[in-house]
Symmetry: D2
Subunit: 278 residues, 4 copies
């Protein structure tokens, strides 16, 4: 497994380039950034060099298509997906991710039908470039009633949905926080095949009742109550070999500098990966 960073959790980090440097300088092996804009700024060769010289790869990039609102917004984003996929593939990245909000103001059945069609089309385009699409189920309880109608938030429902989408390059973005807030067990991870997992997020939860853990109330790995040792050990056991990227969503940006925060992240990773014997 590759230790990875996203921008979330590093405060007011100035740029993807700085993220790449800090990641490399602190023993991380992956960063989750947008390949297309990196290539636009540097050209393909320089972008490759920038990653290589810092010893990192791109772990995953966010799906640049709005599939949750209007058909117009969807089609507009779709126009750019192939070039994003081509850019990611050119930099060796094979993973693209999006998250599923657990409730919706649309009629749930209709939204499921629309979203299935839209995500299938996204997966088909990504697949042409050898890129997989990871769907992130989102566990925090407060979001299940945040919008008018319940949508889906469990691992089981998400696996069923992946089956329904029906493209072989769709799998899970498995986030420790959503595993925790869904109150899932180690055995739920062990029941997965590694090819069902496209990407992994790691972060921790404060010591509050699980039903009160807020989506933007996350803390650094190893500083909270999630059994990240068990989480990582189970992922390793089933043979997952991809990136495990920190994503700390908080209500307010932390006050420390990115340099301080990346060291805190490193300590957290050292602690939980170490405990898991990785």
């Amino acid at each position: 497994m590759l230790r990875g960073l996203t921008g979330a959790g590093l405060g007011r980090i100035e740029s993807d380039e700085r993220l790449i440097e800090l990641a490399g300088a602190n023993g991380f092996q992956a960063v989750d950034i947008d390949a297309y804009s990196l290539i636009e700024r540097h050209g393909l060769e320089k972008a490759r060099e920038l990653l290589a010289s810092n010893g990192v790869v791109i772990g995953s990039f966010g799906l640049p298509v709005e599939w949750r609102t209007t058909e117009e917004a969807f089609l507009e984003g779709l126009e750019k997906l192939a070039r994003s996929a081509a850019a990611a593939a050119a930099l060796g990245c094979t993973s693209c991710c999006t998250y599923i909000l657990p409730s919706t103001d649309l009629k749930a059945a209709r939204f499921m039908a629309l979203a299935t069609r839209r995500l299938r089309t996204c997966a088909q385009i990504l697949g042409a470039y050898g890129i997989r699409l990871g769907l992130e189920f989102v566990g925090p309880h407060h979001l299940r009633t945040r919008w008018a109608n319940p949508f889906i938030w469990t691992l089981e429902e998400t696996l069923e949905w992946i089956d329904t989408i029906g493209e072989s390059n769709v799998g899970l973005l498995f986030d420790a926080y959503h595993w925790y807030t869904n109150e899932l067990a180690i055995s739920d991870i062990e029941a997965l095949r590694p090819d069902q997992i496209v990407h992994v997020h790691i972060n921790d939860a404060p010591d509050v009742p699980v039903g009160e853990a807020l989506d933007n109330g996350r803390i650094y790995p190893g500083e909270g109550v999630i059994d990240l040792e068990g989480f990582l050990r189970a992922l390793a056991k089933i043979g997952y070999k991809g990136a495990v990227s920190q994503e700390i969503l908080t209500a307010e940006a932390p006050n420390e500098t990115p340099e301080e925060l990346v060291k805190r992240s490193k300590s957290g990773f050292d602690k939980v990966f170490g405990a898991a014997g990785l």
Copy 2:
């Protein structure tokens, strides 16, 4: 268009064989019956002769797979689908239909995902035998809240769902009663292509407020308030050439004999087809 009969509306009709005879004797050109059991009872050649000698074809058969409940029930039905499809194809029938209940006790989003996958598999098997799958949206208002969660009931939602299912042999079962209870217009029919319609049901509604028209409160064509002349004219205009089968769902079976009821049906068809110039 072919004038067709289902068993619904003919009272206590004793058998499919009697339905075939009555249909033929009263100028109907199609019957909606199960091909597999007909062949089982008569053999393929005799079954063909029975239909041909009465001047009728099979308009459509009901999907023999339970896709609304458990996976076990679904898979059990699926085992028999290919042979049903083969039987229908052997008798020249290319249409299979199922209806969509407008509400569900399951979580709506999850049920939509499961149902999409299941109906896609059904469509794939039917497609191998050259048979199309028609989905019937169901309009009566009382059914929209009959079960805990709203599902789908409009033409628009059904067309979107057909798109999501993503198989080229899936289309609509277009029922006059659901067109009426959805308060759709002639122009909504005229906006369709004929290949989007797999099968048509015809029946009429009593003179009650549309929101109070009950699913099992249907009456004979030409005896109620639905603009069946406009309905048929629009179908003819877009080029629909398949069967238009009477389906009269009632709370209690009518008291008349099947022989009397088929004549009443014939009168109704003569009236509304005549008015439409067909």
Copy 3:
């Protein structure tokens, strides 16, 4: 059916804009041009006005993706497909076409597998924008042995392939020349459903043995031996309502001016459409 023009057969016509004008001035209702570049030159509103003020629509545009050679070339073209589709949709065009060469230097089975996957991906992207993909089977005998291995060239093989591609928005580009060089009958057209035909090409063949009719030896409608009256009548009979676009491929560009050639085309259309009673 709409009378349409492509640039092929109008000599050294200077631009798509001139094609639009000549088409409109001579009673044609459709032009086959690239929507994306038209919008790039004029903006969306002006492009719409240009078409509307000349009384023409875009009949079809050529698939801008190279699916016959390397994966690199394919993926490069694919990057631009969504924006081409979006542009076409914005101008009301719902048809995109490509042709199938009847022989190939690649191993035929392998090429069929690659081409199936690639065209499916193209169809999926086009489908998101409501655009259909028409596949043109190519009949001239000399092309069947032009490259090392036979591929496919018959109507039957093409319909089978469309089935294999498995997307509901794929159909035929039906060209009178290939209908003729495949020695097909009126009844072969009448056996089709209108939704199986995405686009139609019209042109004529010189009075040589059919096996010697060259792909780039085509002549103007009504000047040769193809039964275009029967061709058009059959298309009308099954309910085809799209564009019928002239495409005259010749070894050398004709000497007449575009203005003279469009009048010749108009005479040809008047003759064959008139004979067909259209």
Copy 4:
């Protein structure tokens, strides 16, 4: 990995029941037999017990659908596929396999289109029951020209084809003999993901030039020239955990008894698995 047996290589073995007993008694953990007929003979519970009491599972069953000849033959087989799949699933088997002949008397491109559609339908039905479909590429040189037109026989072509079929439950049946006769390397196995392999066959080749190794000239594992140690080590390295079933195709049935032959098989397995450290 599970040590497995097929009937091929055990001489005139009388029944599947005897195969199950001999397998269990000689340390094999899997047998490749038809689940449906086993259940028909014993009932579901007894069939389960028979397997369990002998310590074996079903490794894989042969696809009971003829996809290489006429549409009629295909559809006839398809009628029975769901019940075969249901039977296999009921006995815990998740793998079904078929082989690809490297040449064909049909036109290669057309056959590829037909076969793609047919195998996709098979995969869709199998997938409903949680069963994967393994495609076996066939390497012996003499078969490449055995019929009129070359089809496909390489690993690369087969992976491309699996991509084209486009169902997530399709993968490889990886046979040591075809790996050898395609002159592939250890690194070709190591480049695969475990989920790309549905099933594995093991057997050995006589010491003749590789181009002369006959499809039905196979010998027992460990008695020939194939690097089975490297083969198994590579499969283990990438994480393949399924069955590795002996399949010895020979021109004439061996003279030894099944009891003698299974011991010979056991010795071969002990030798090559032992050498591979498994």
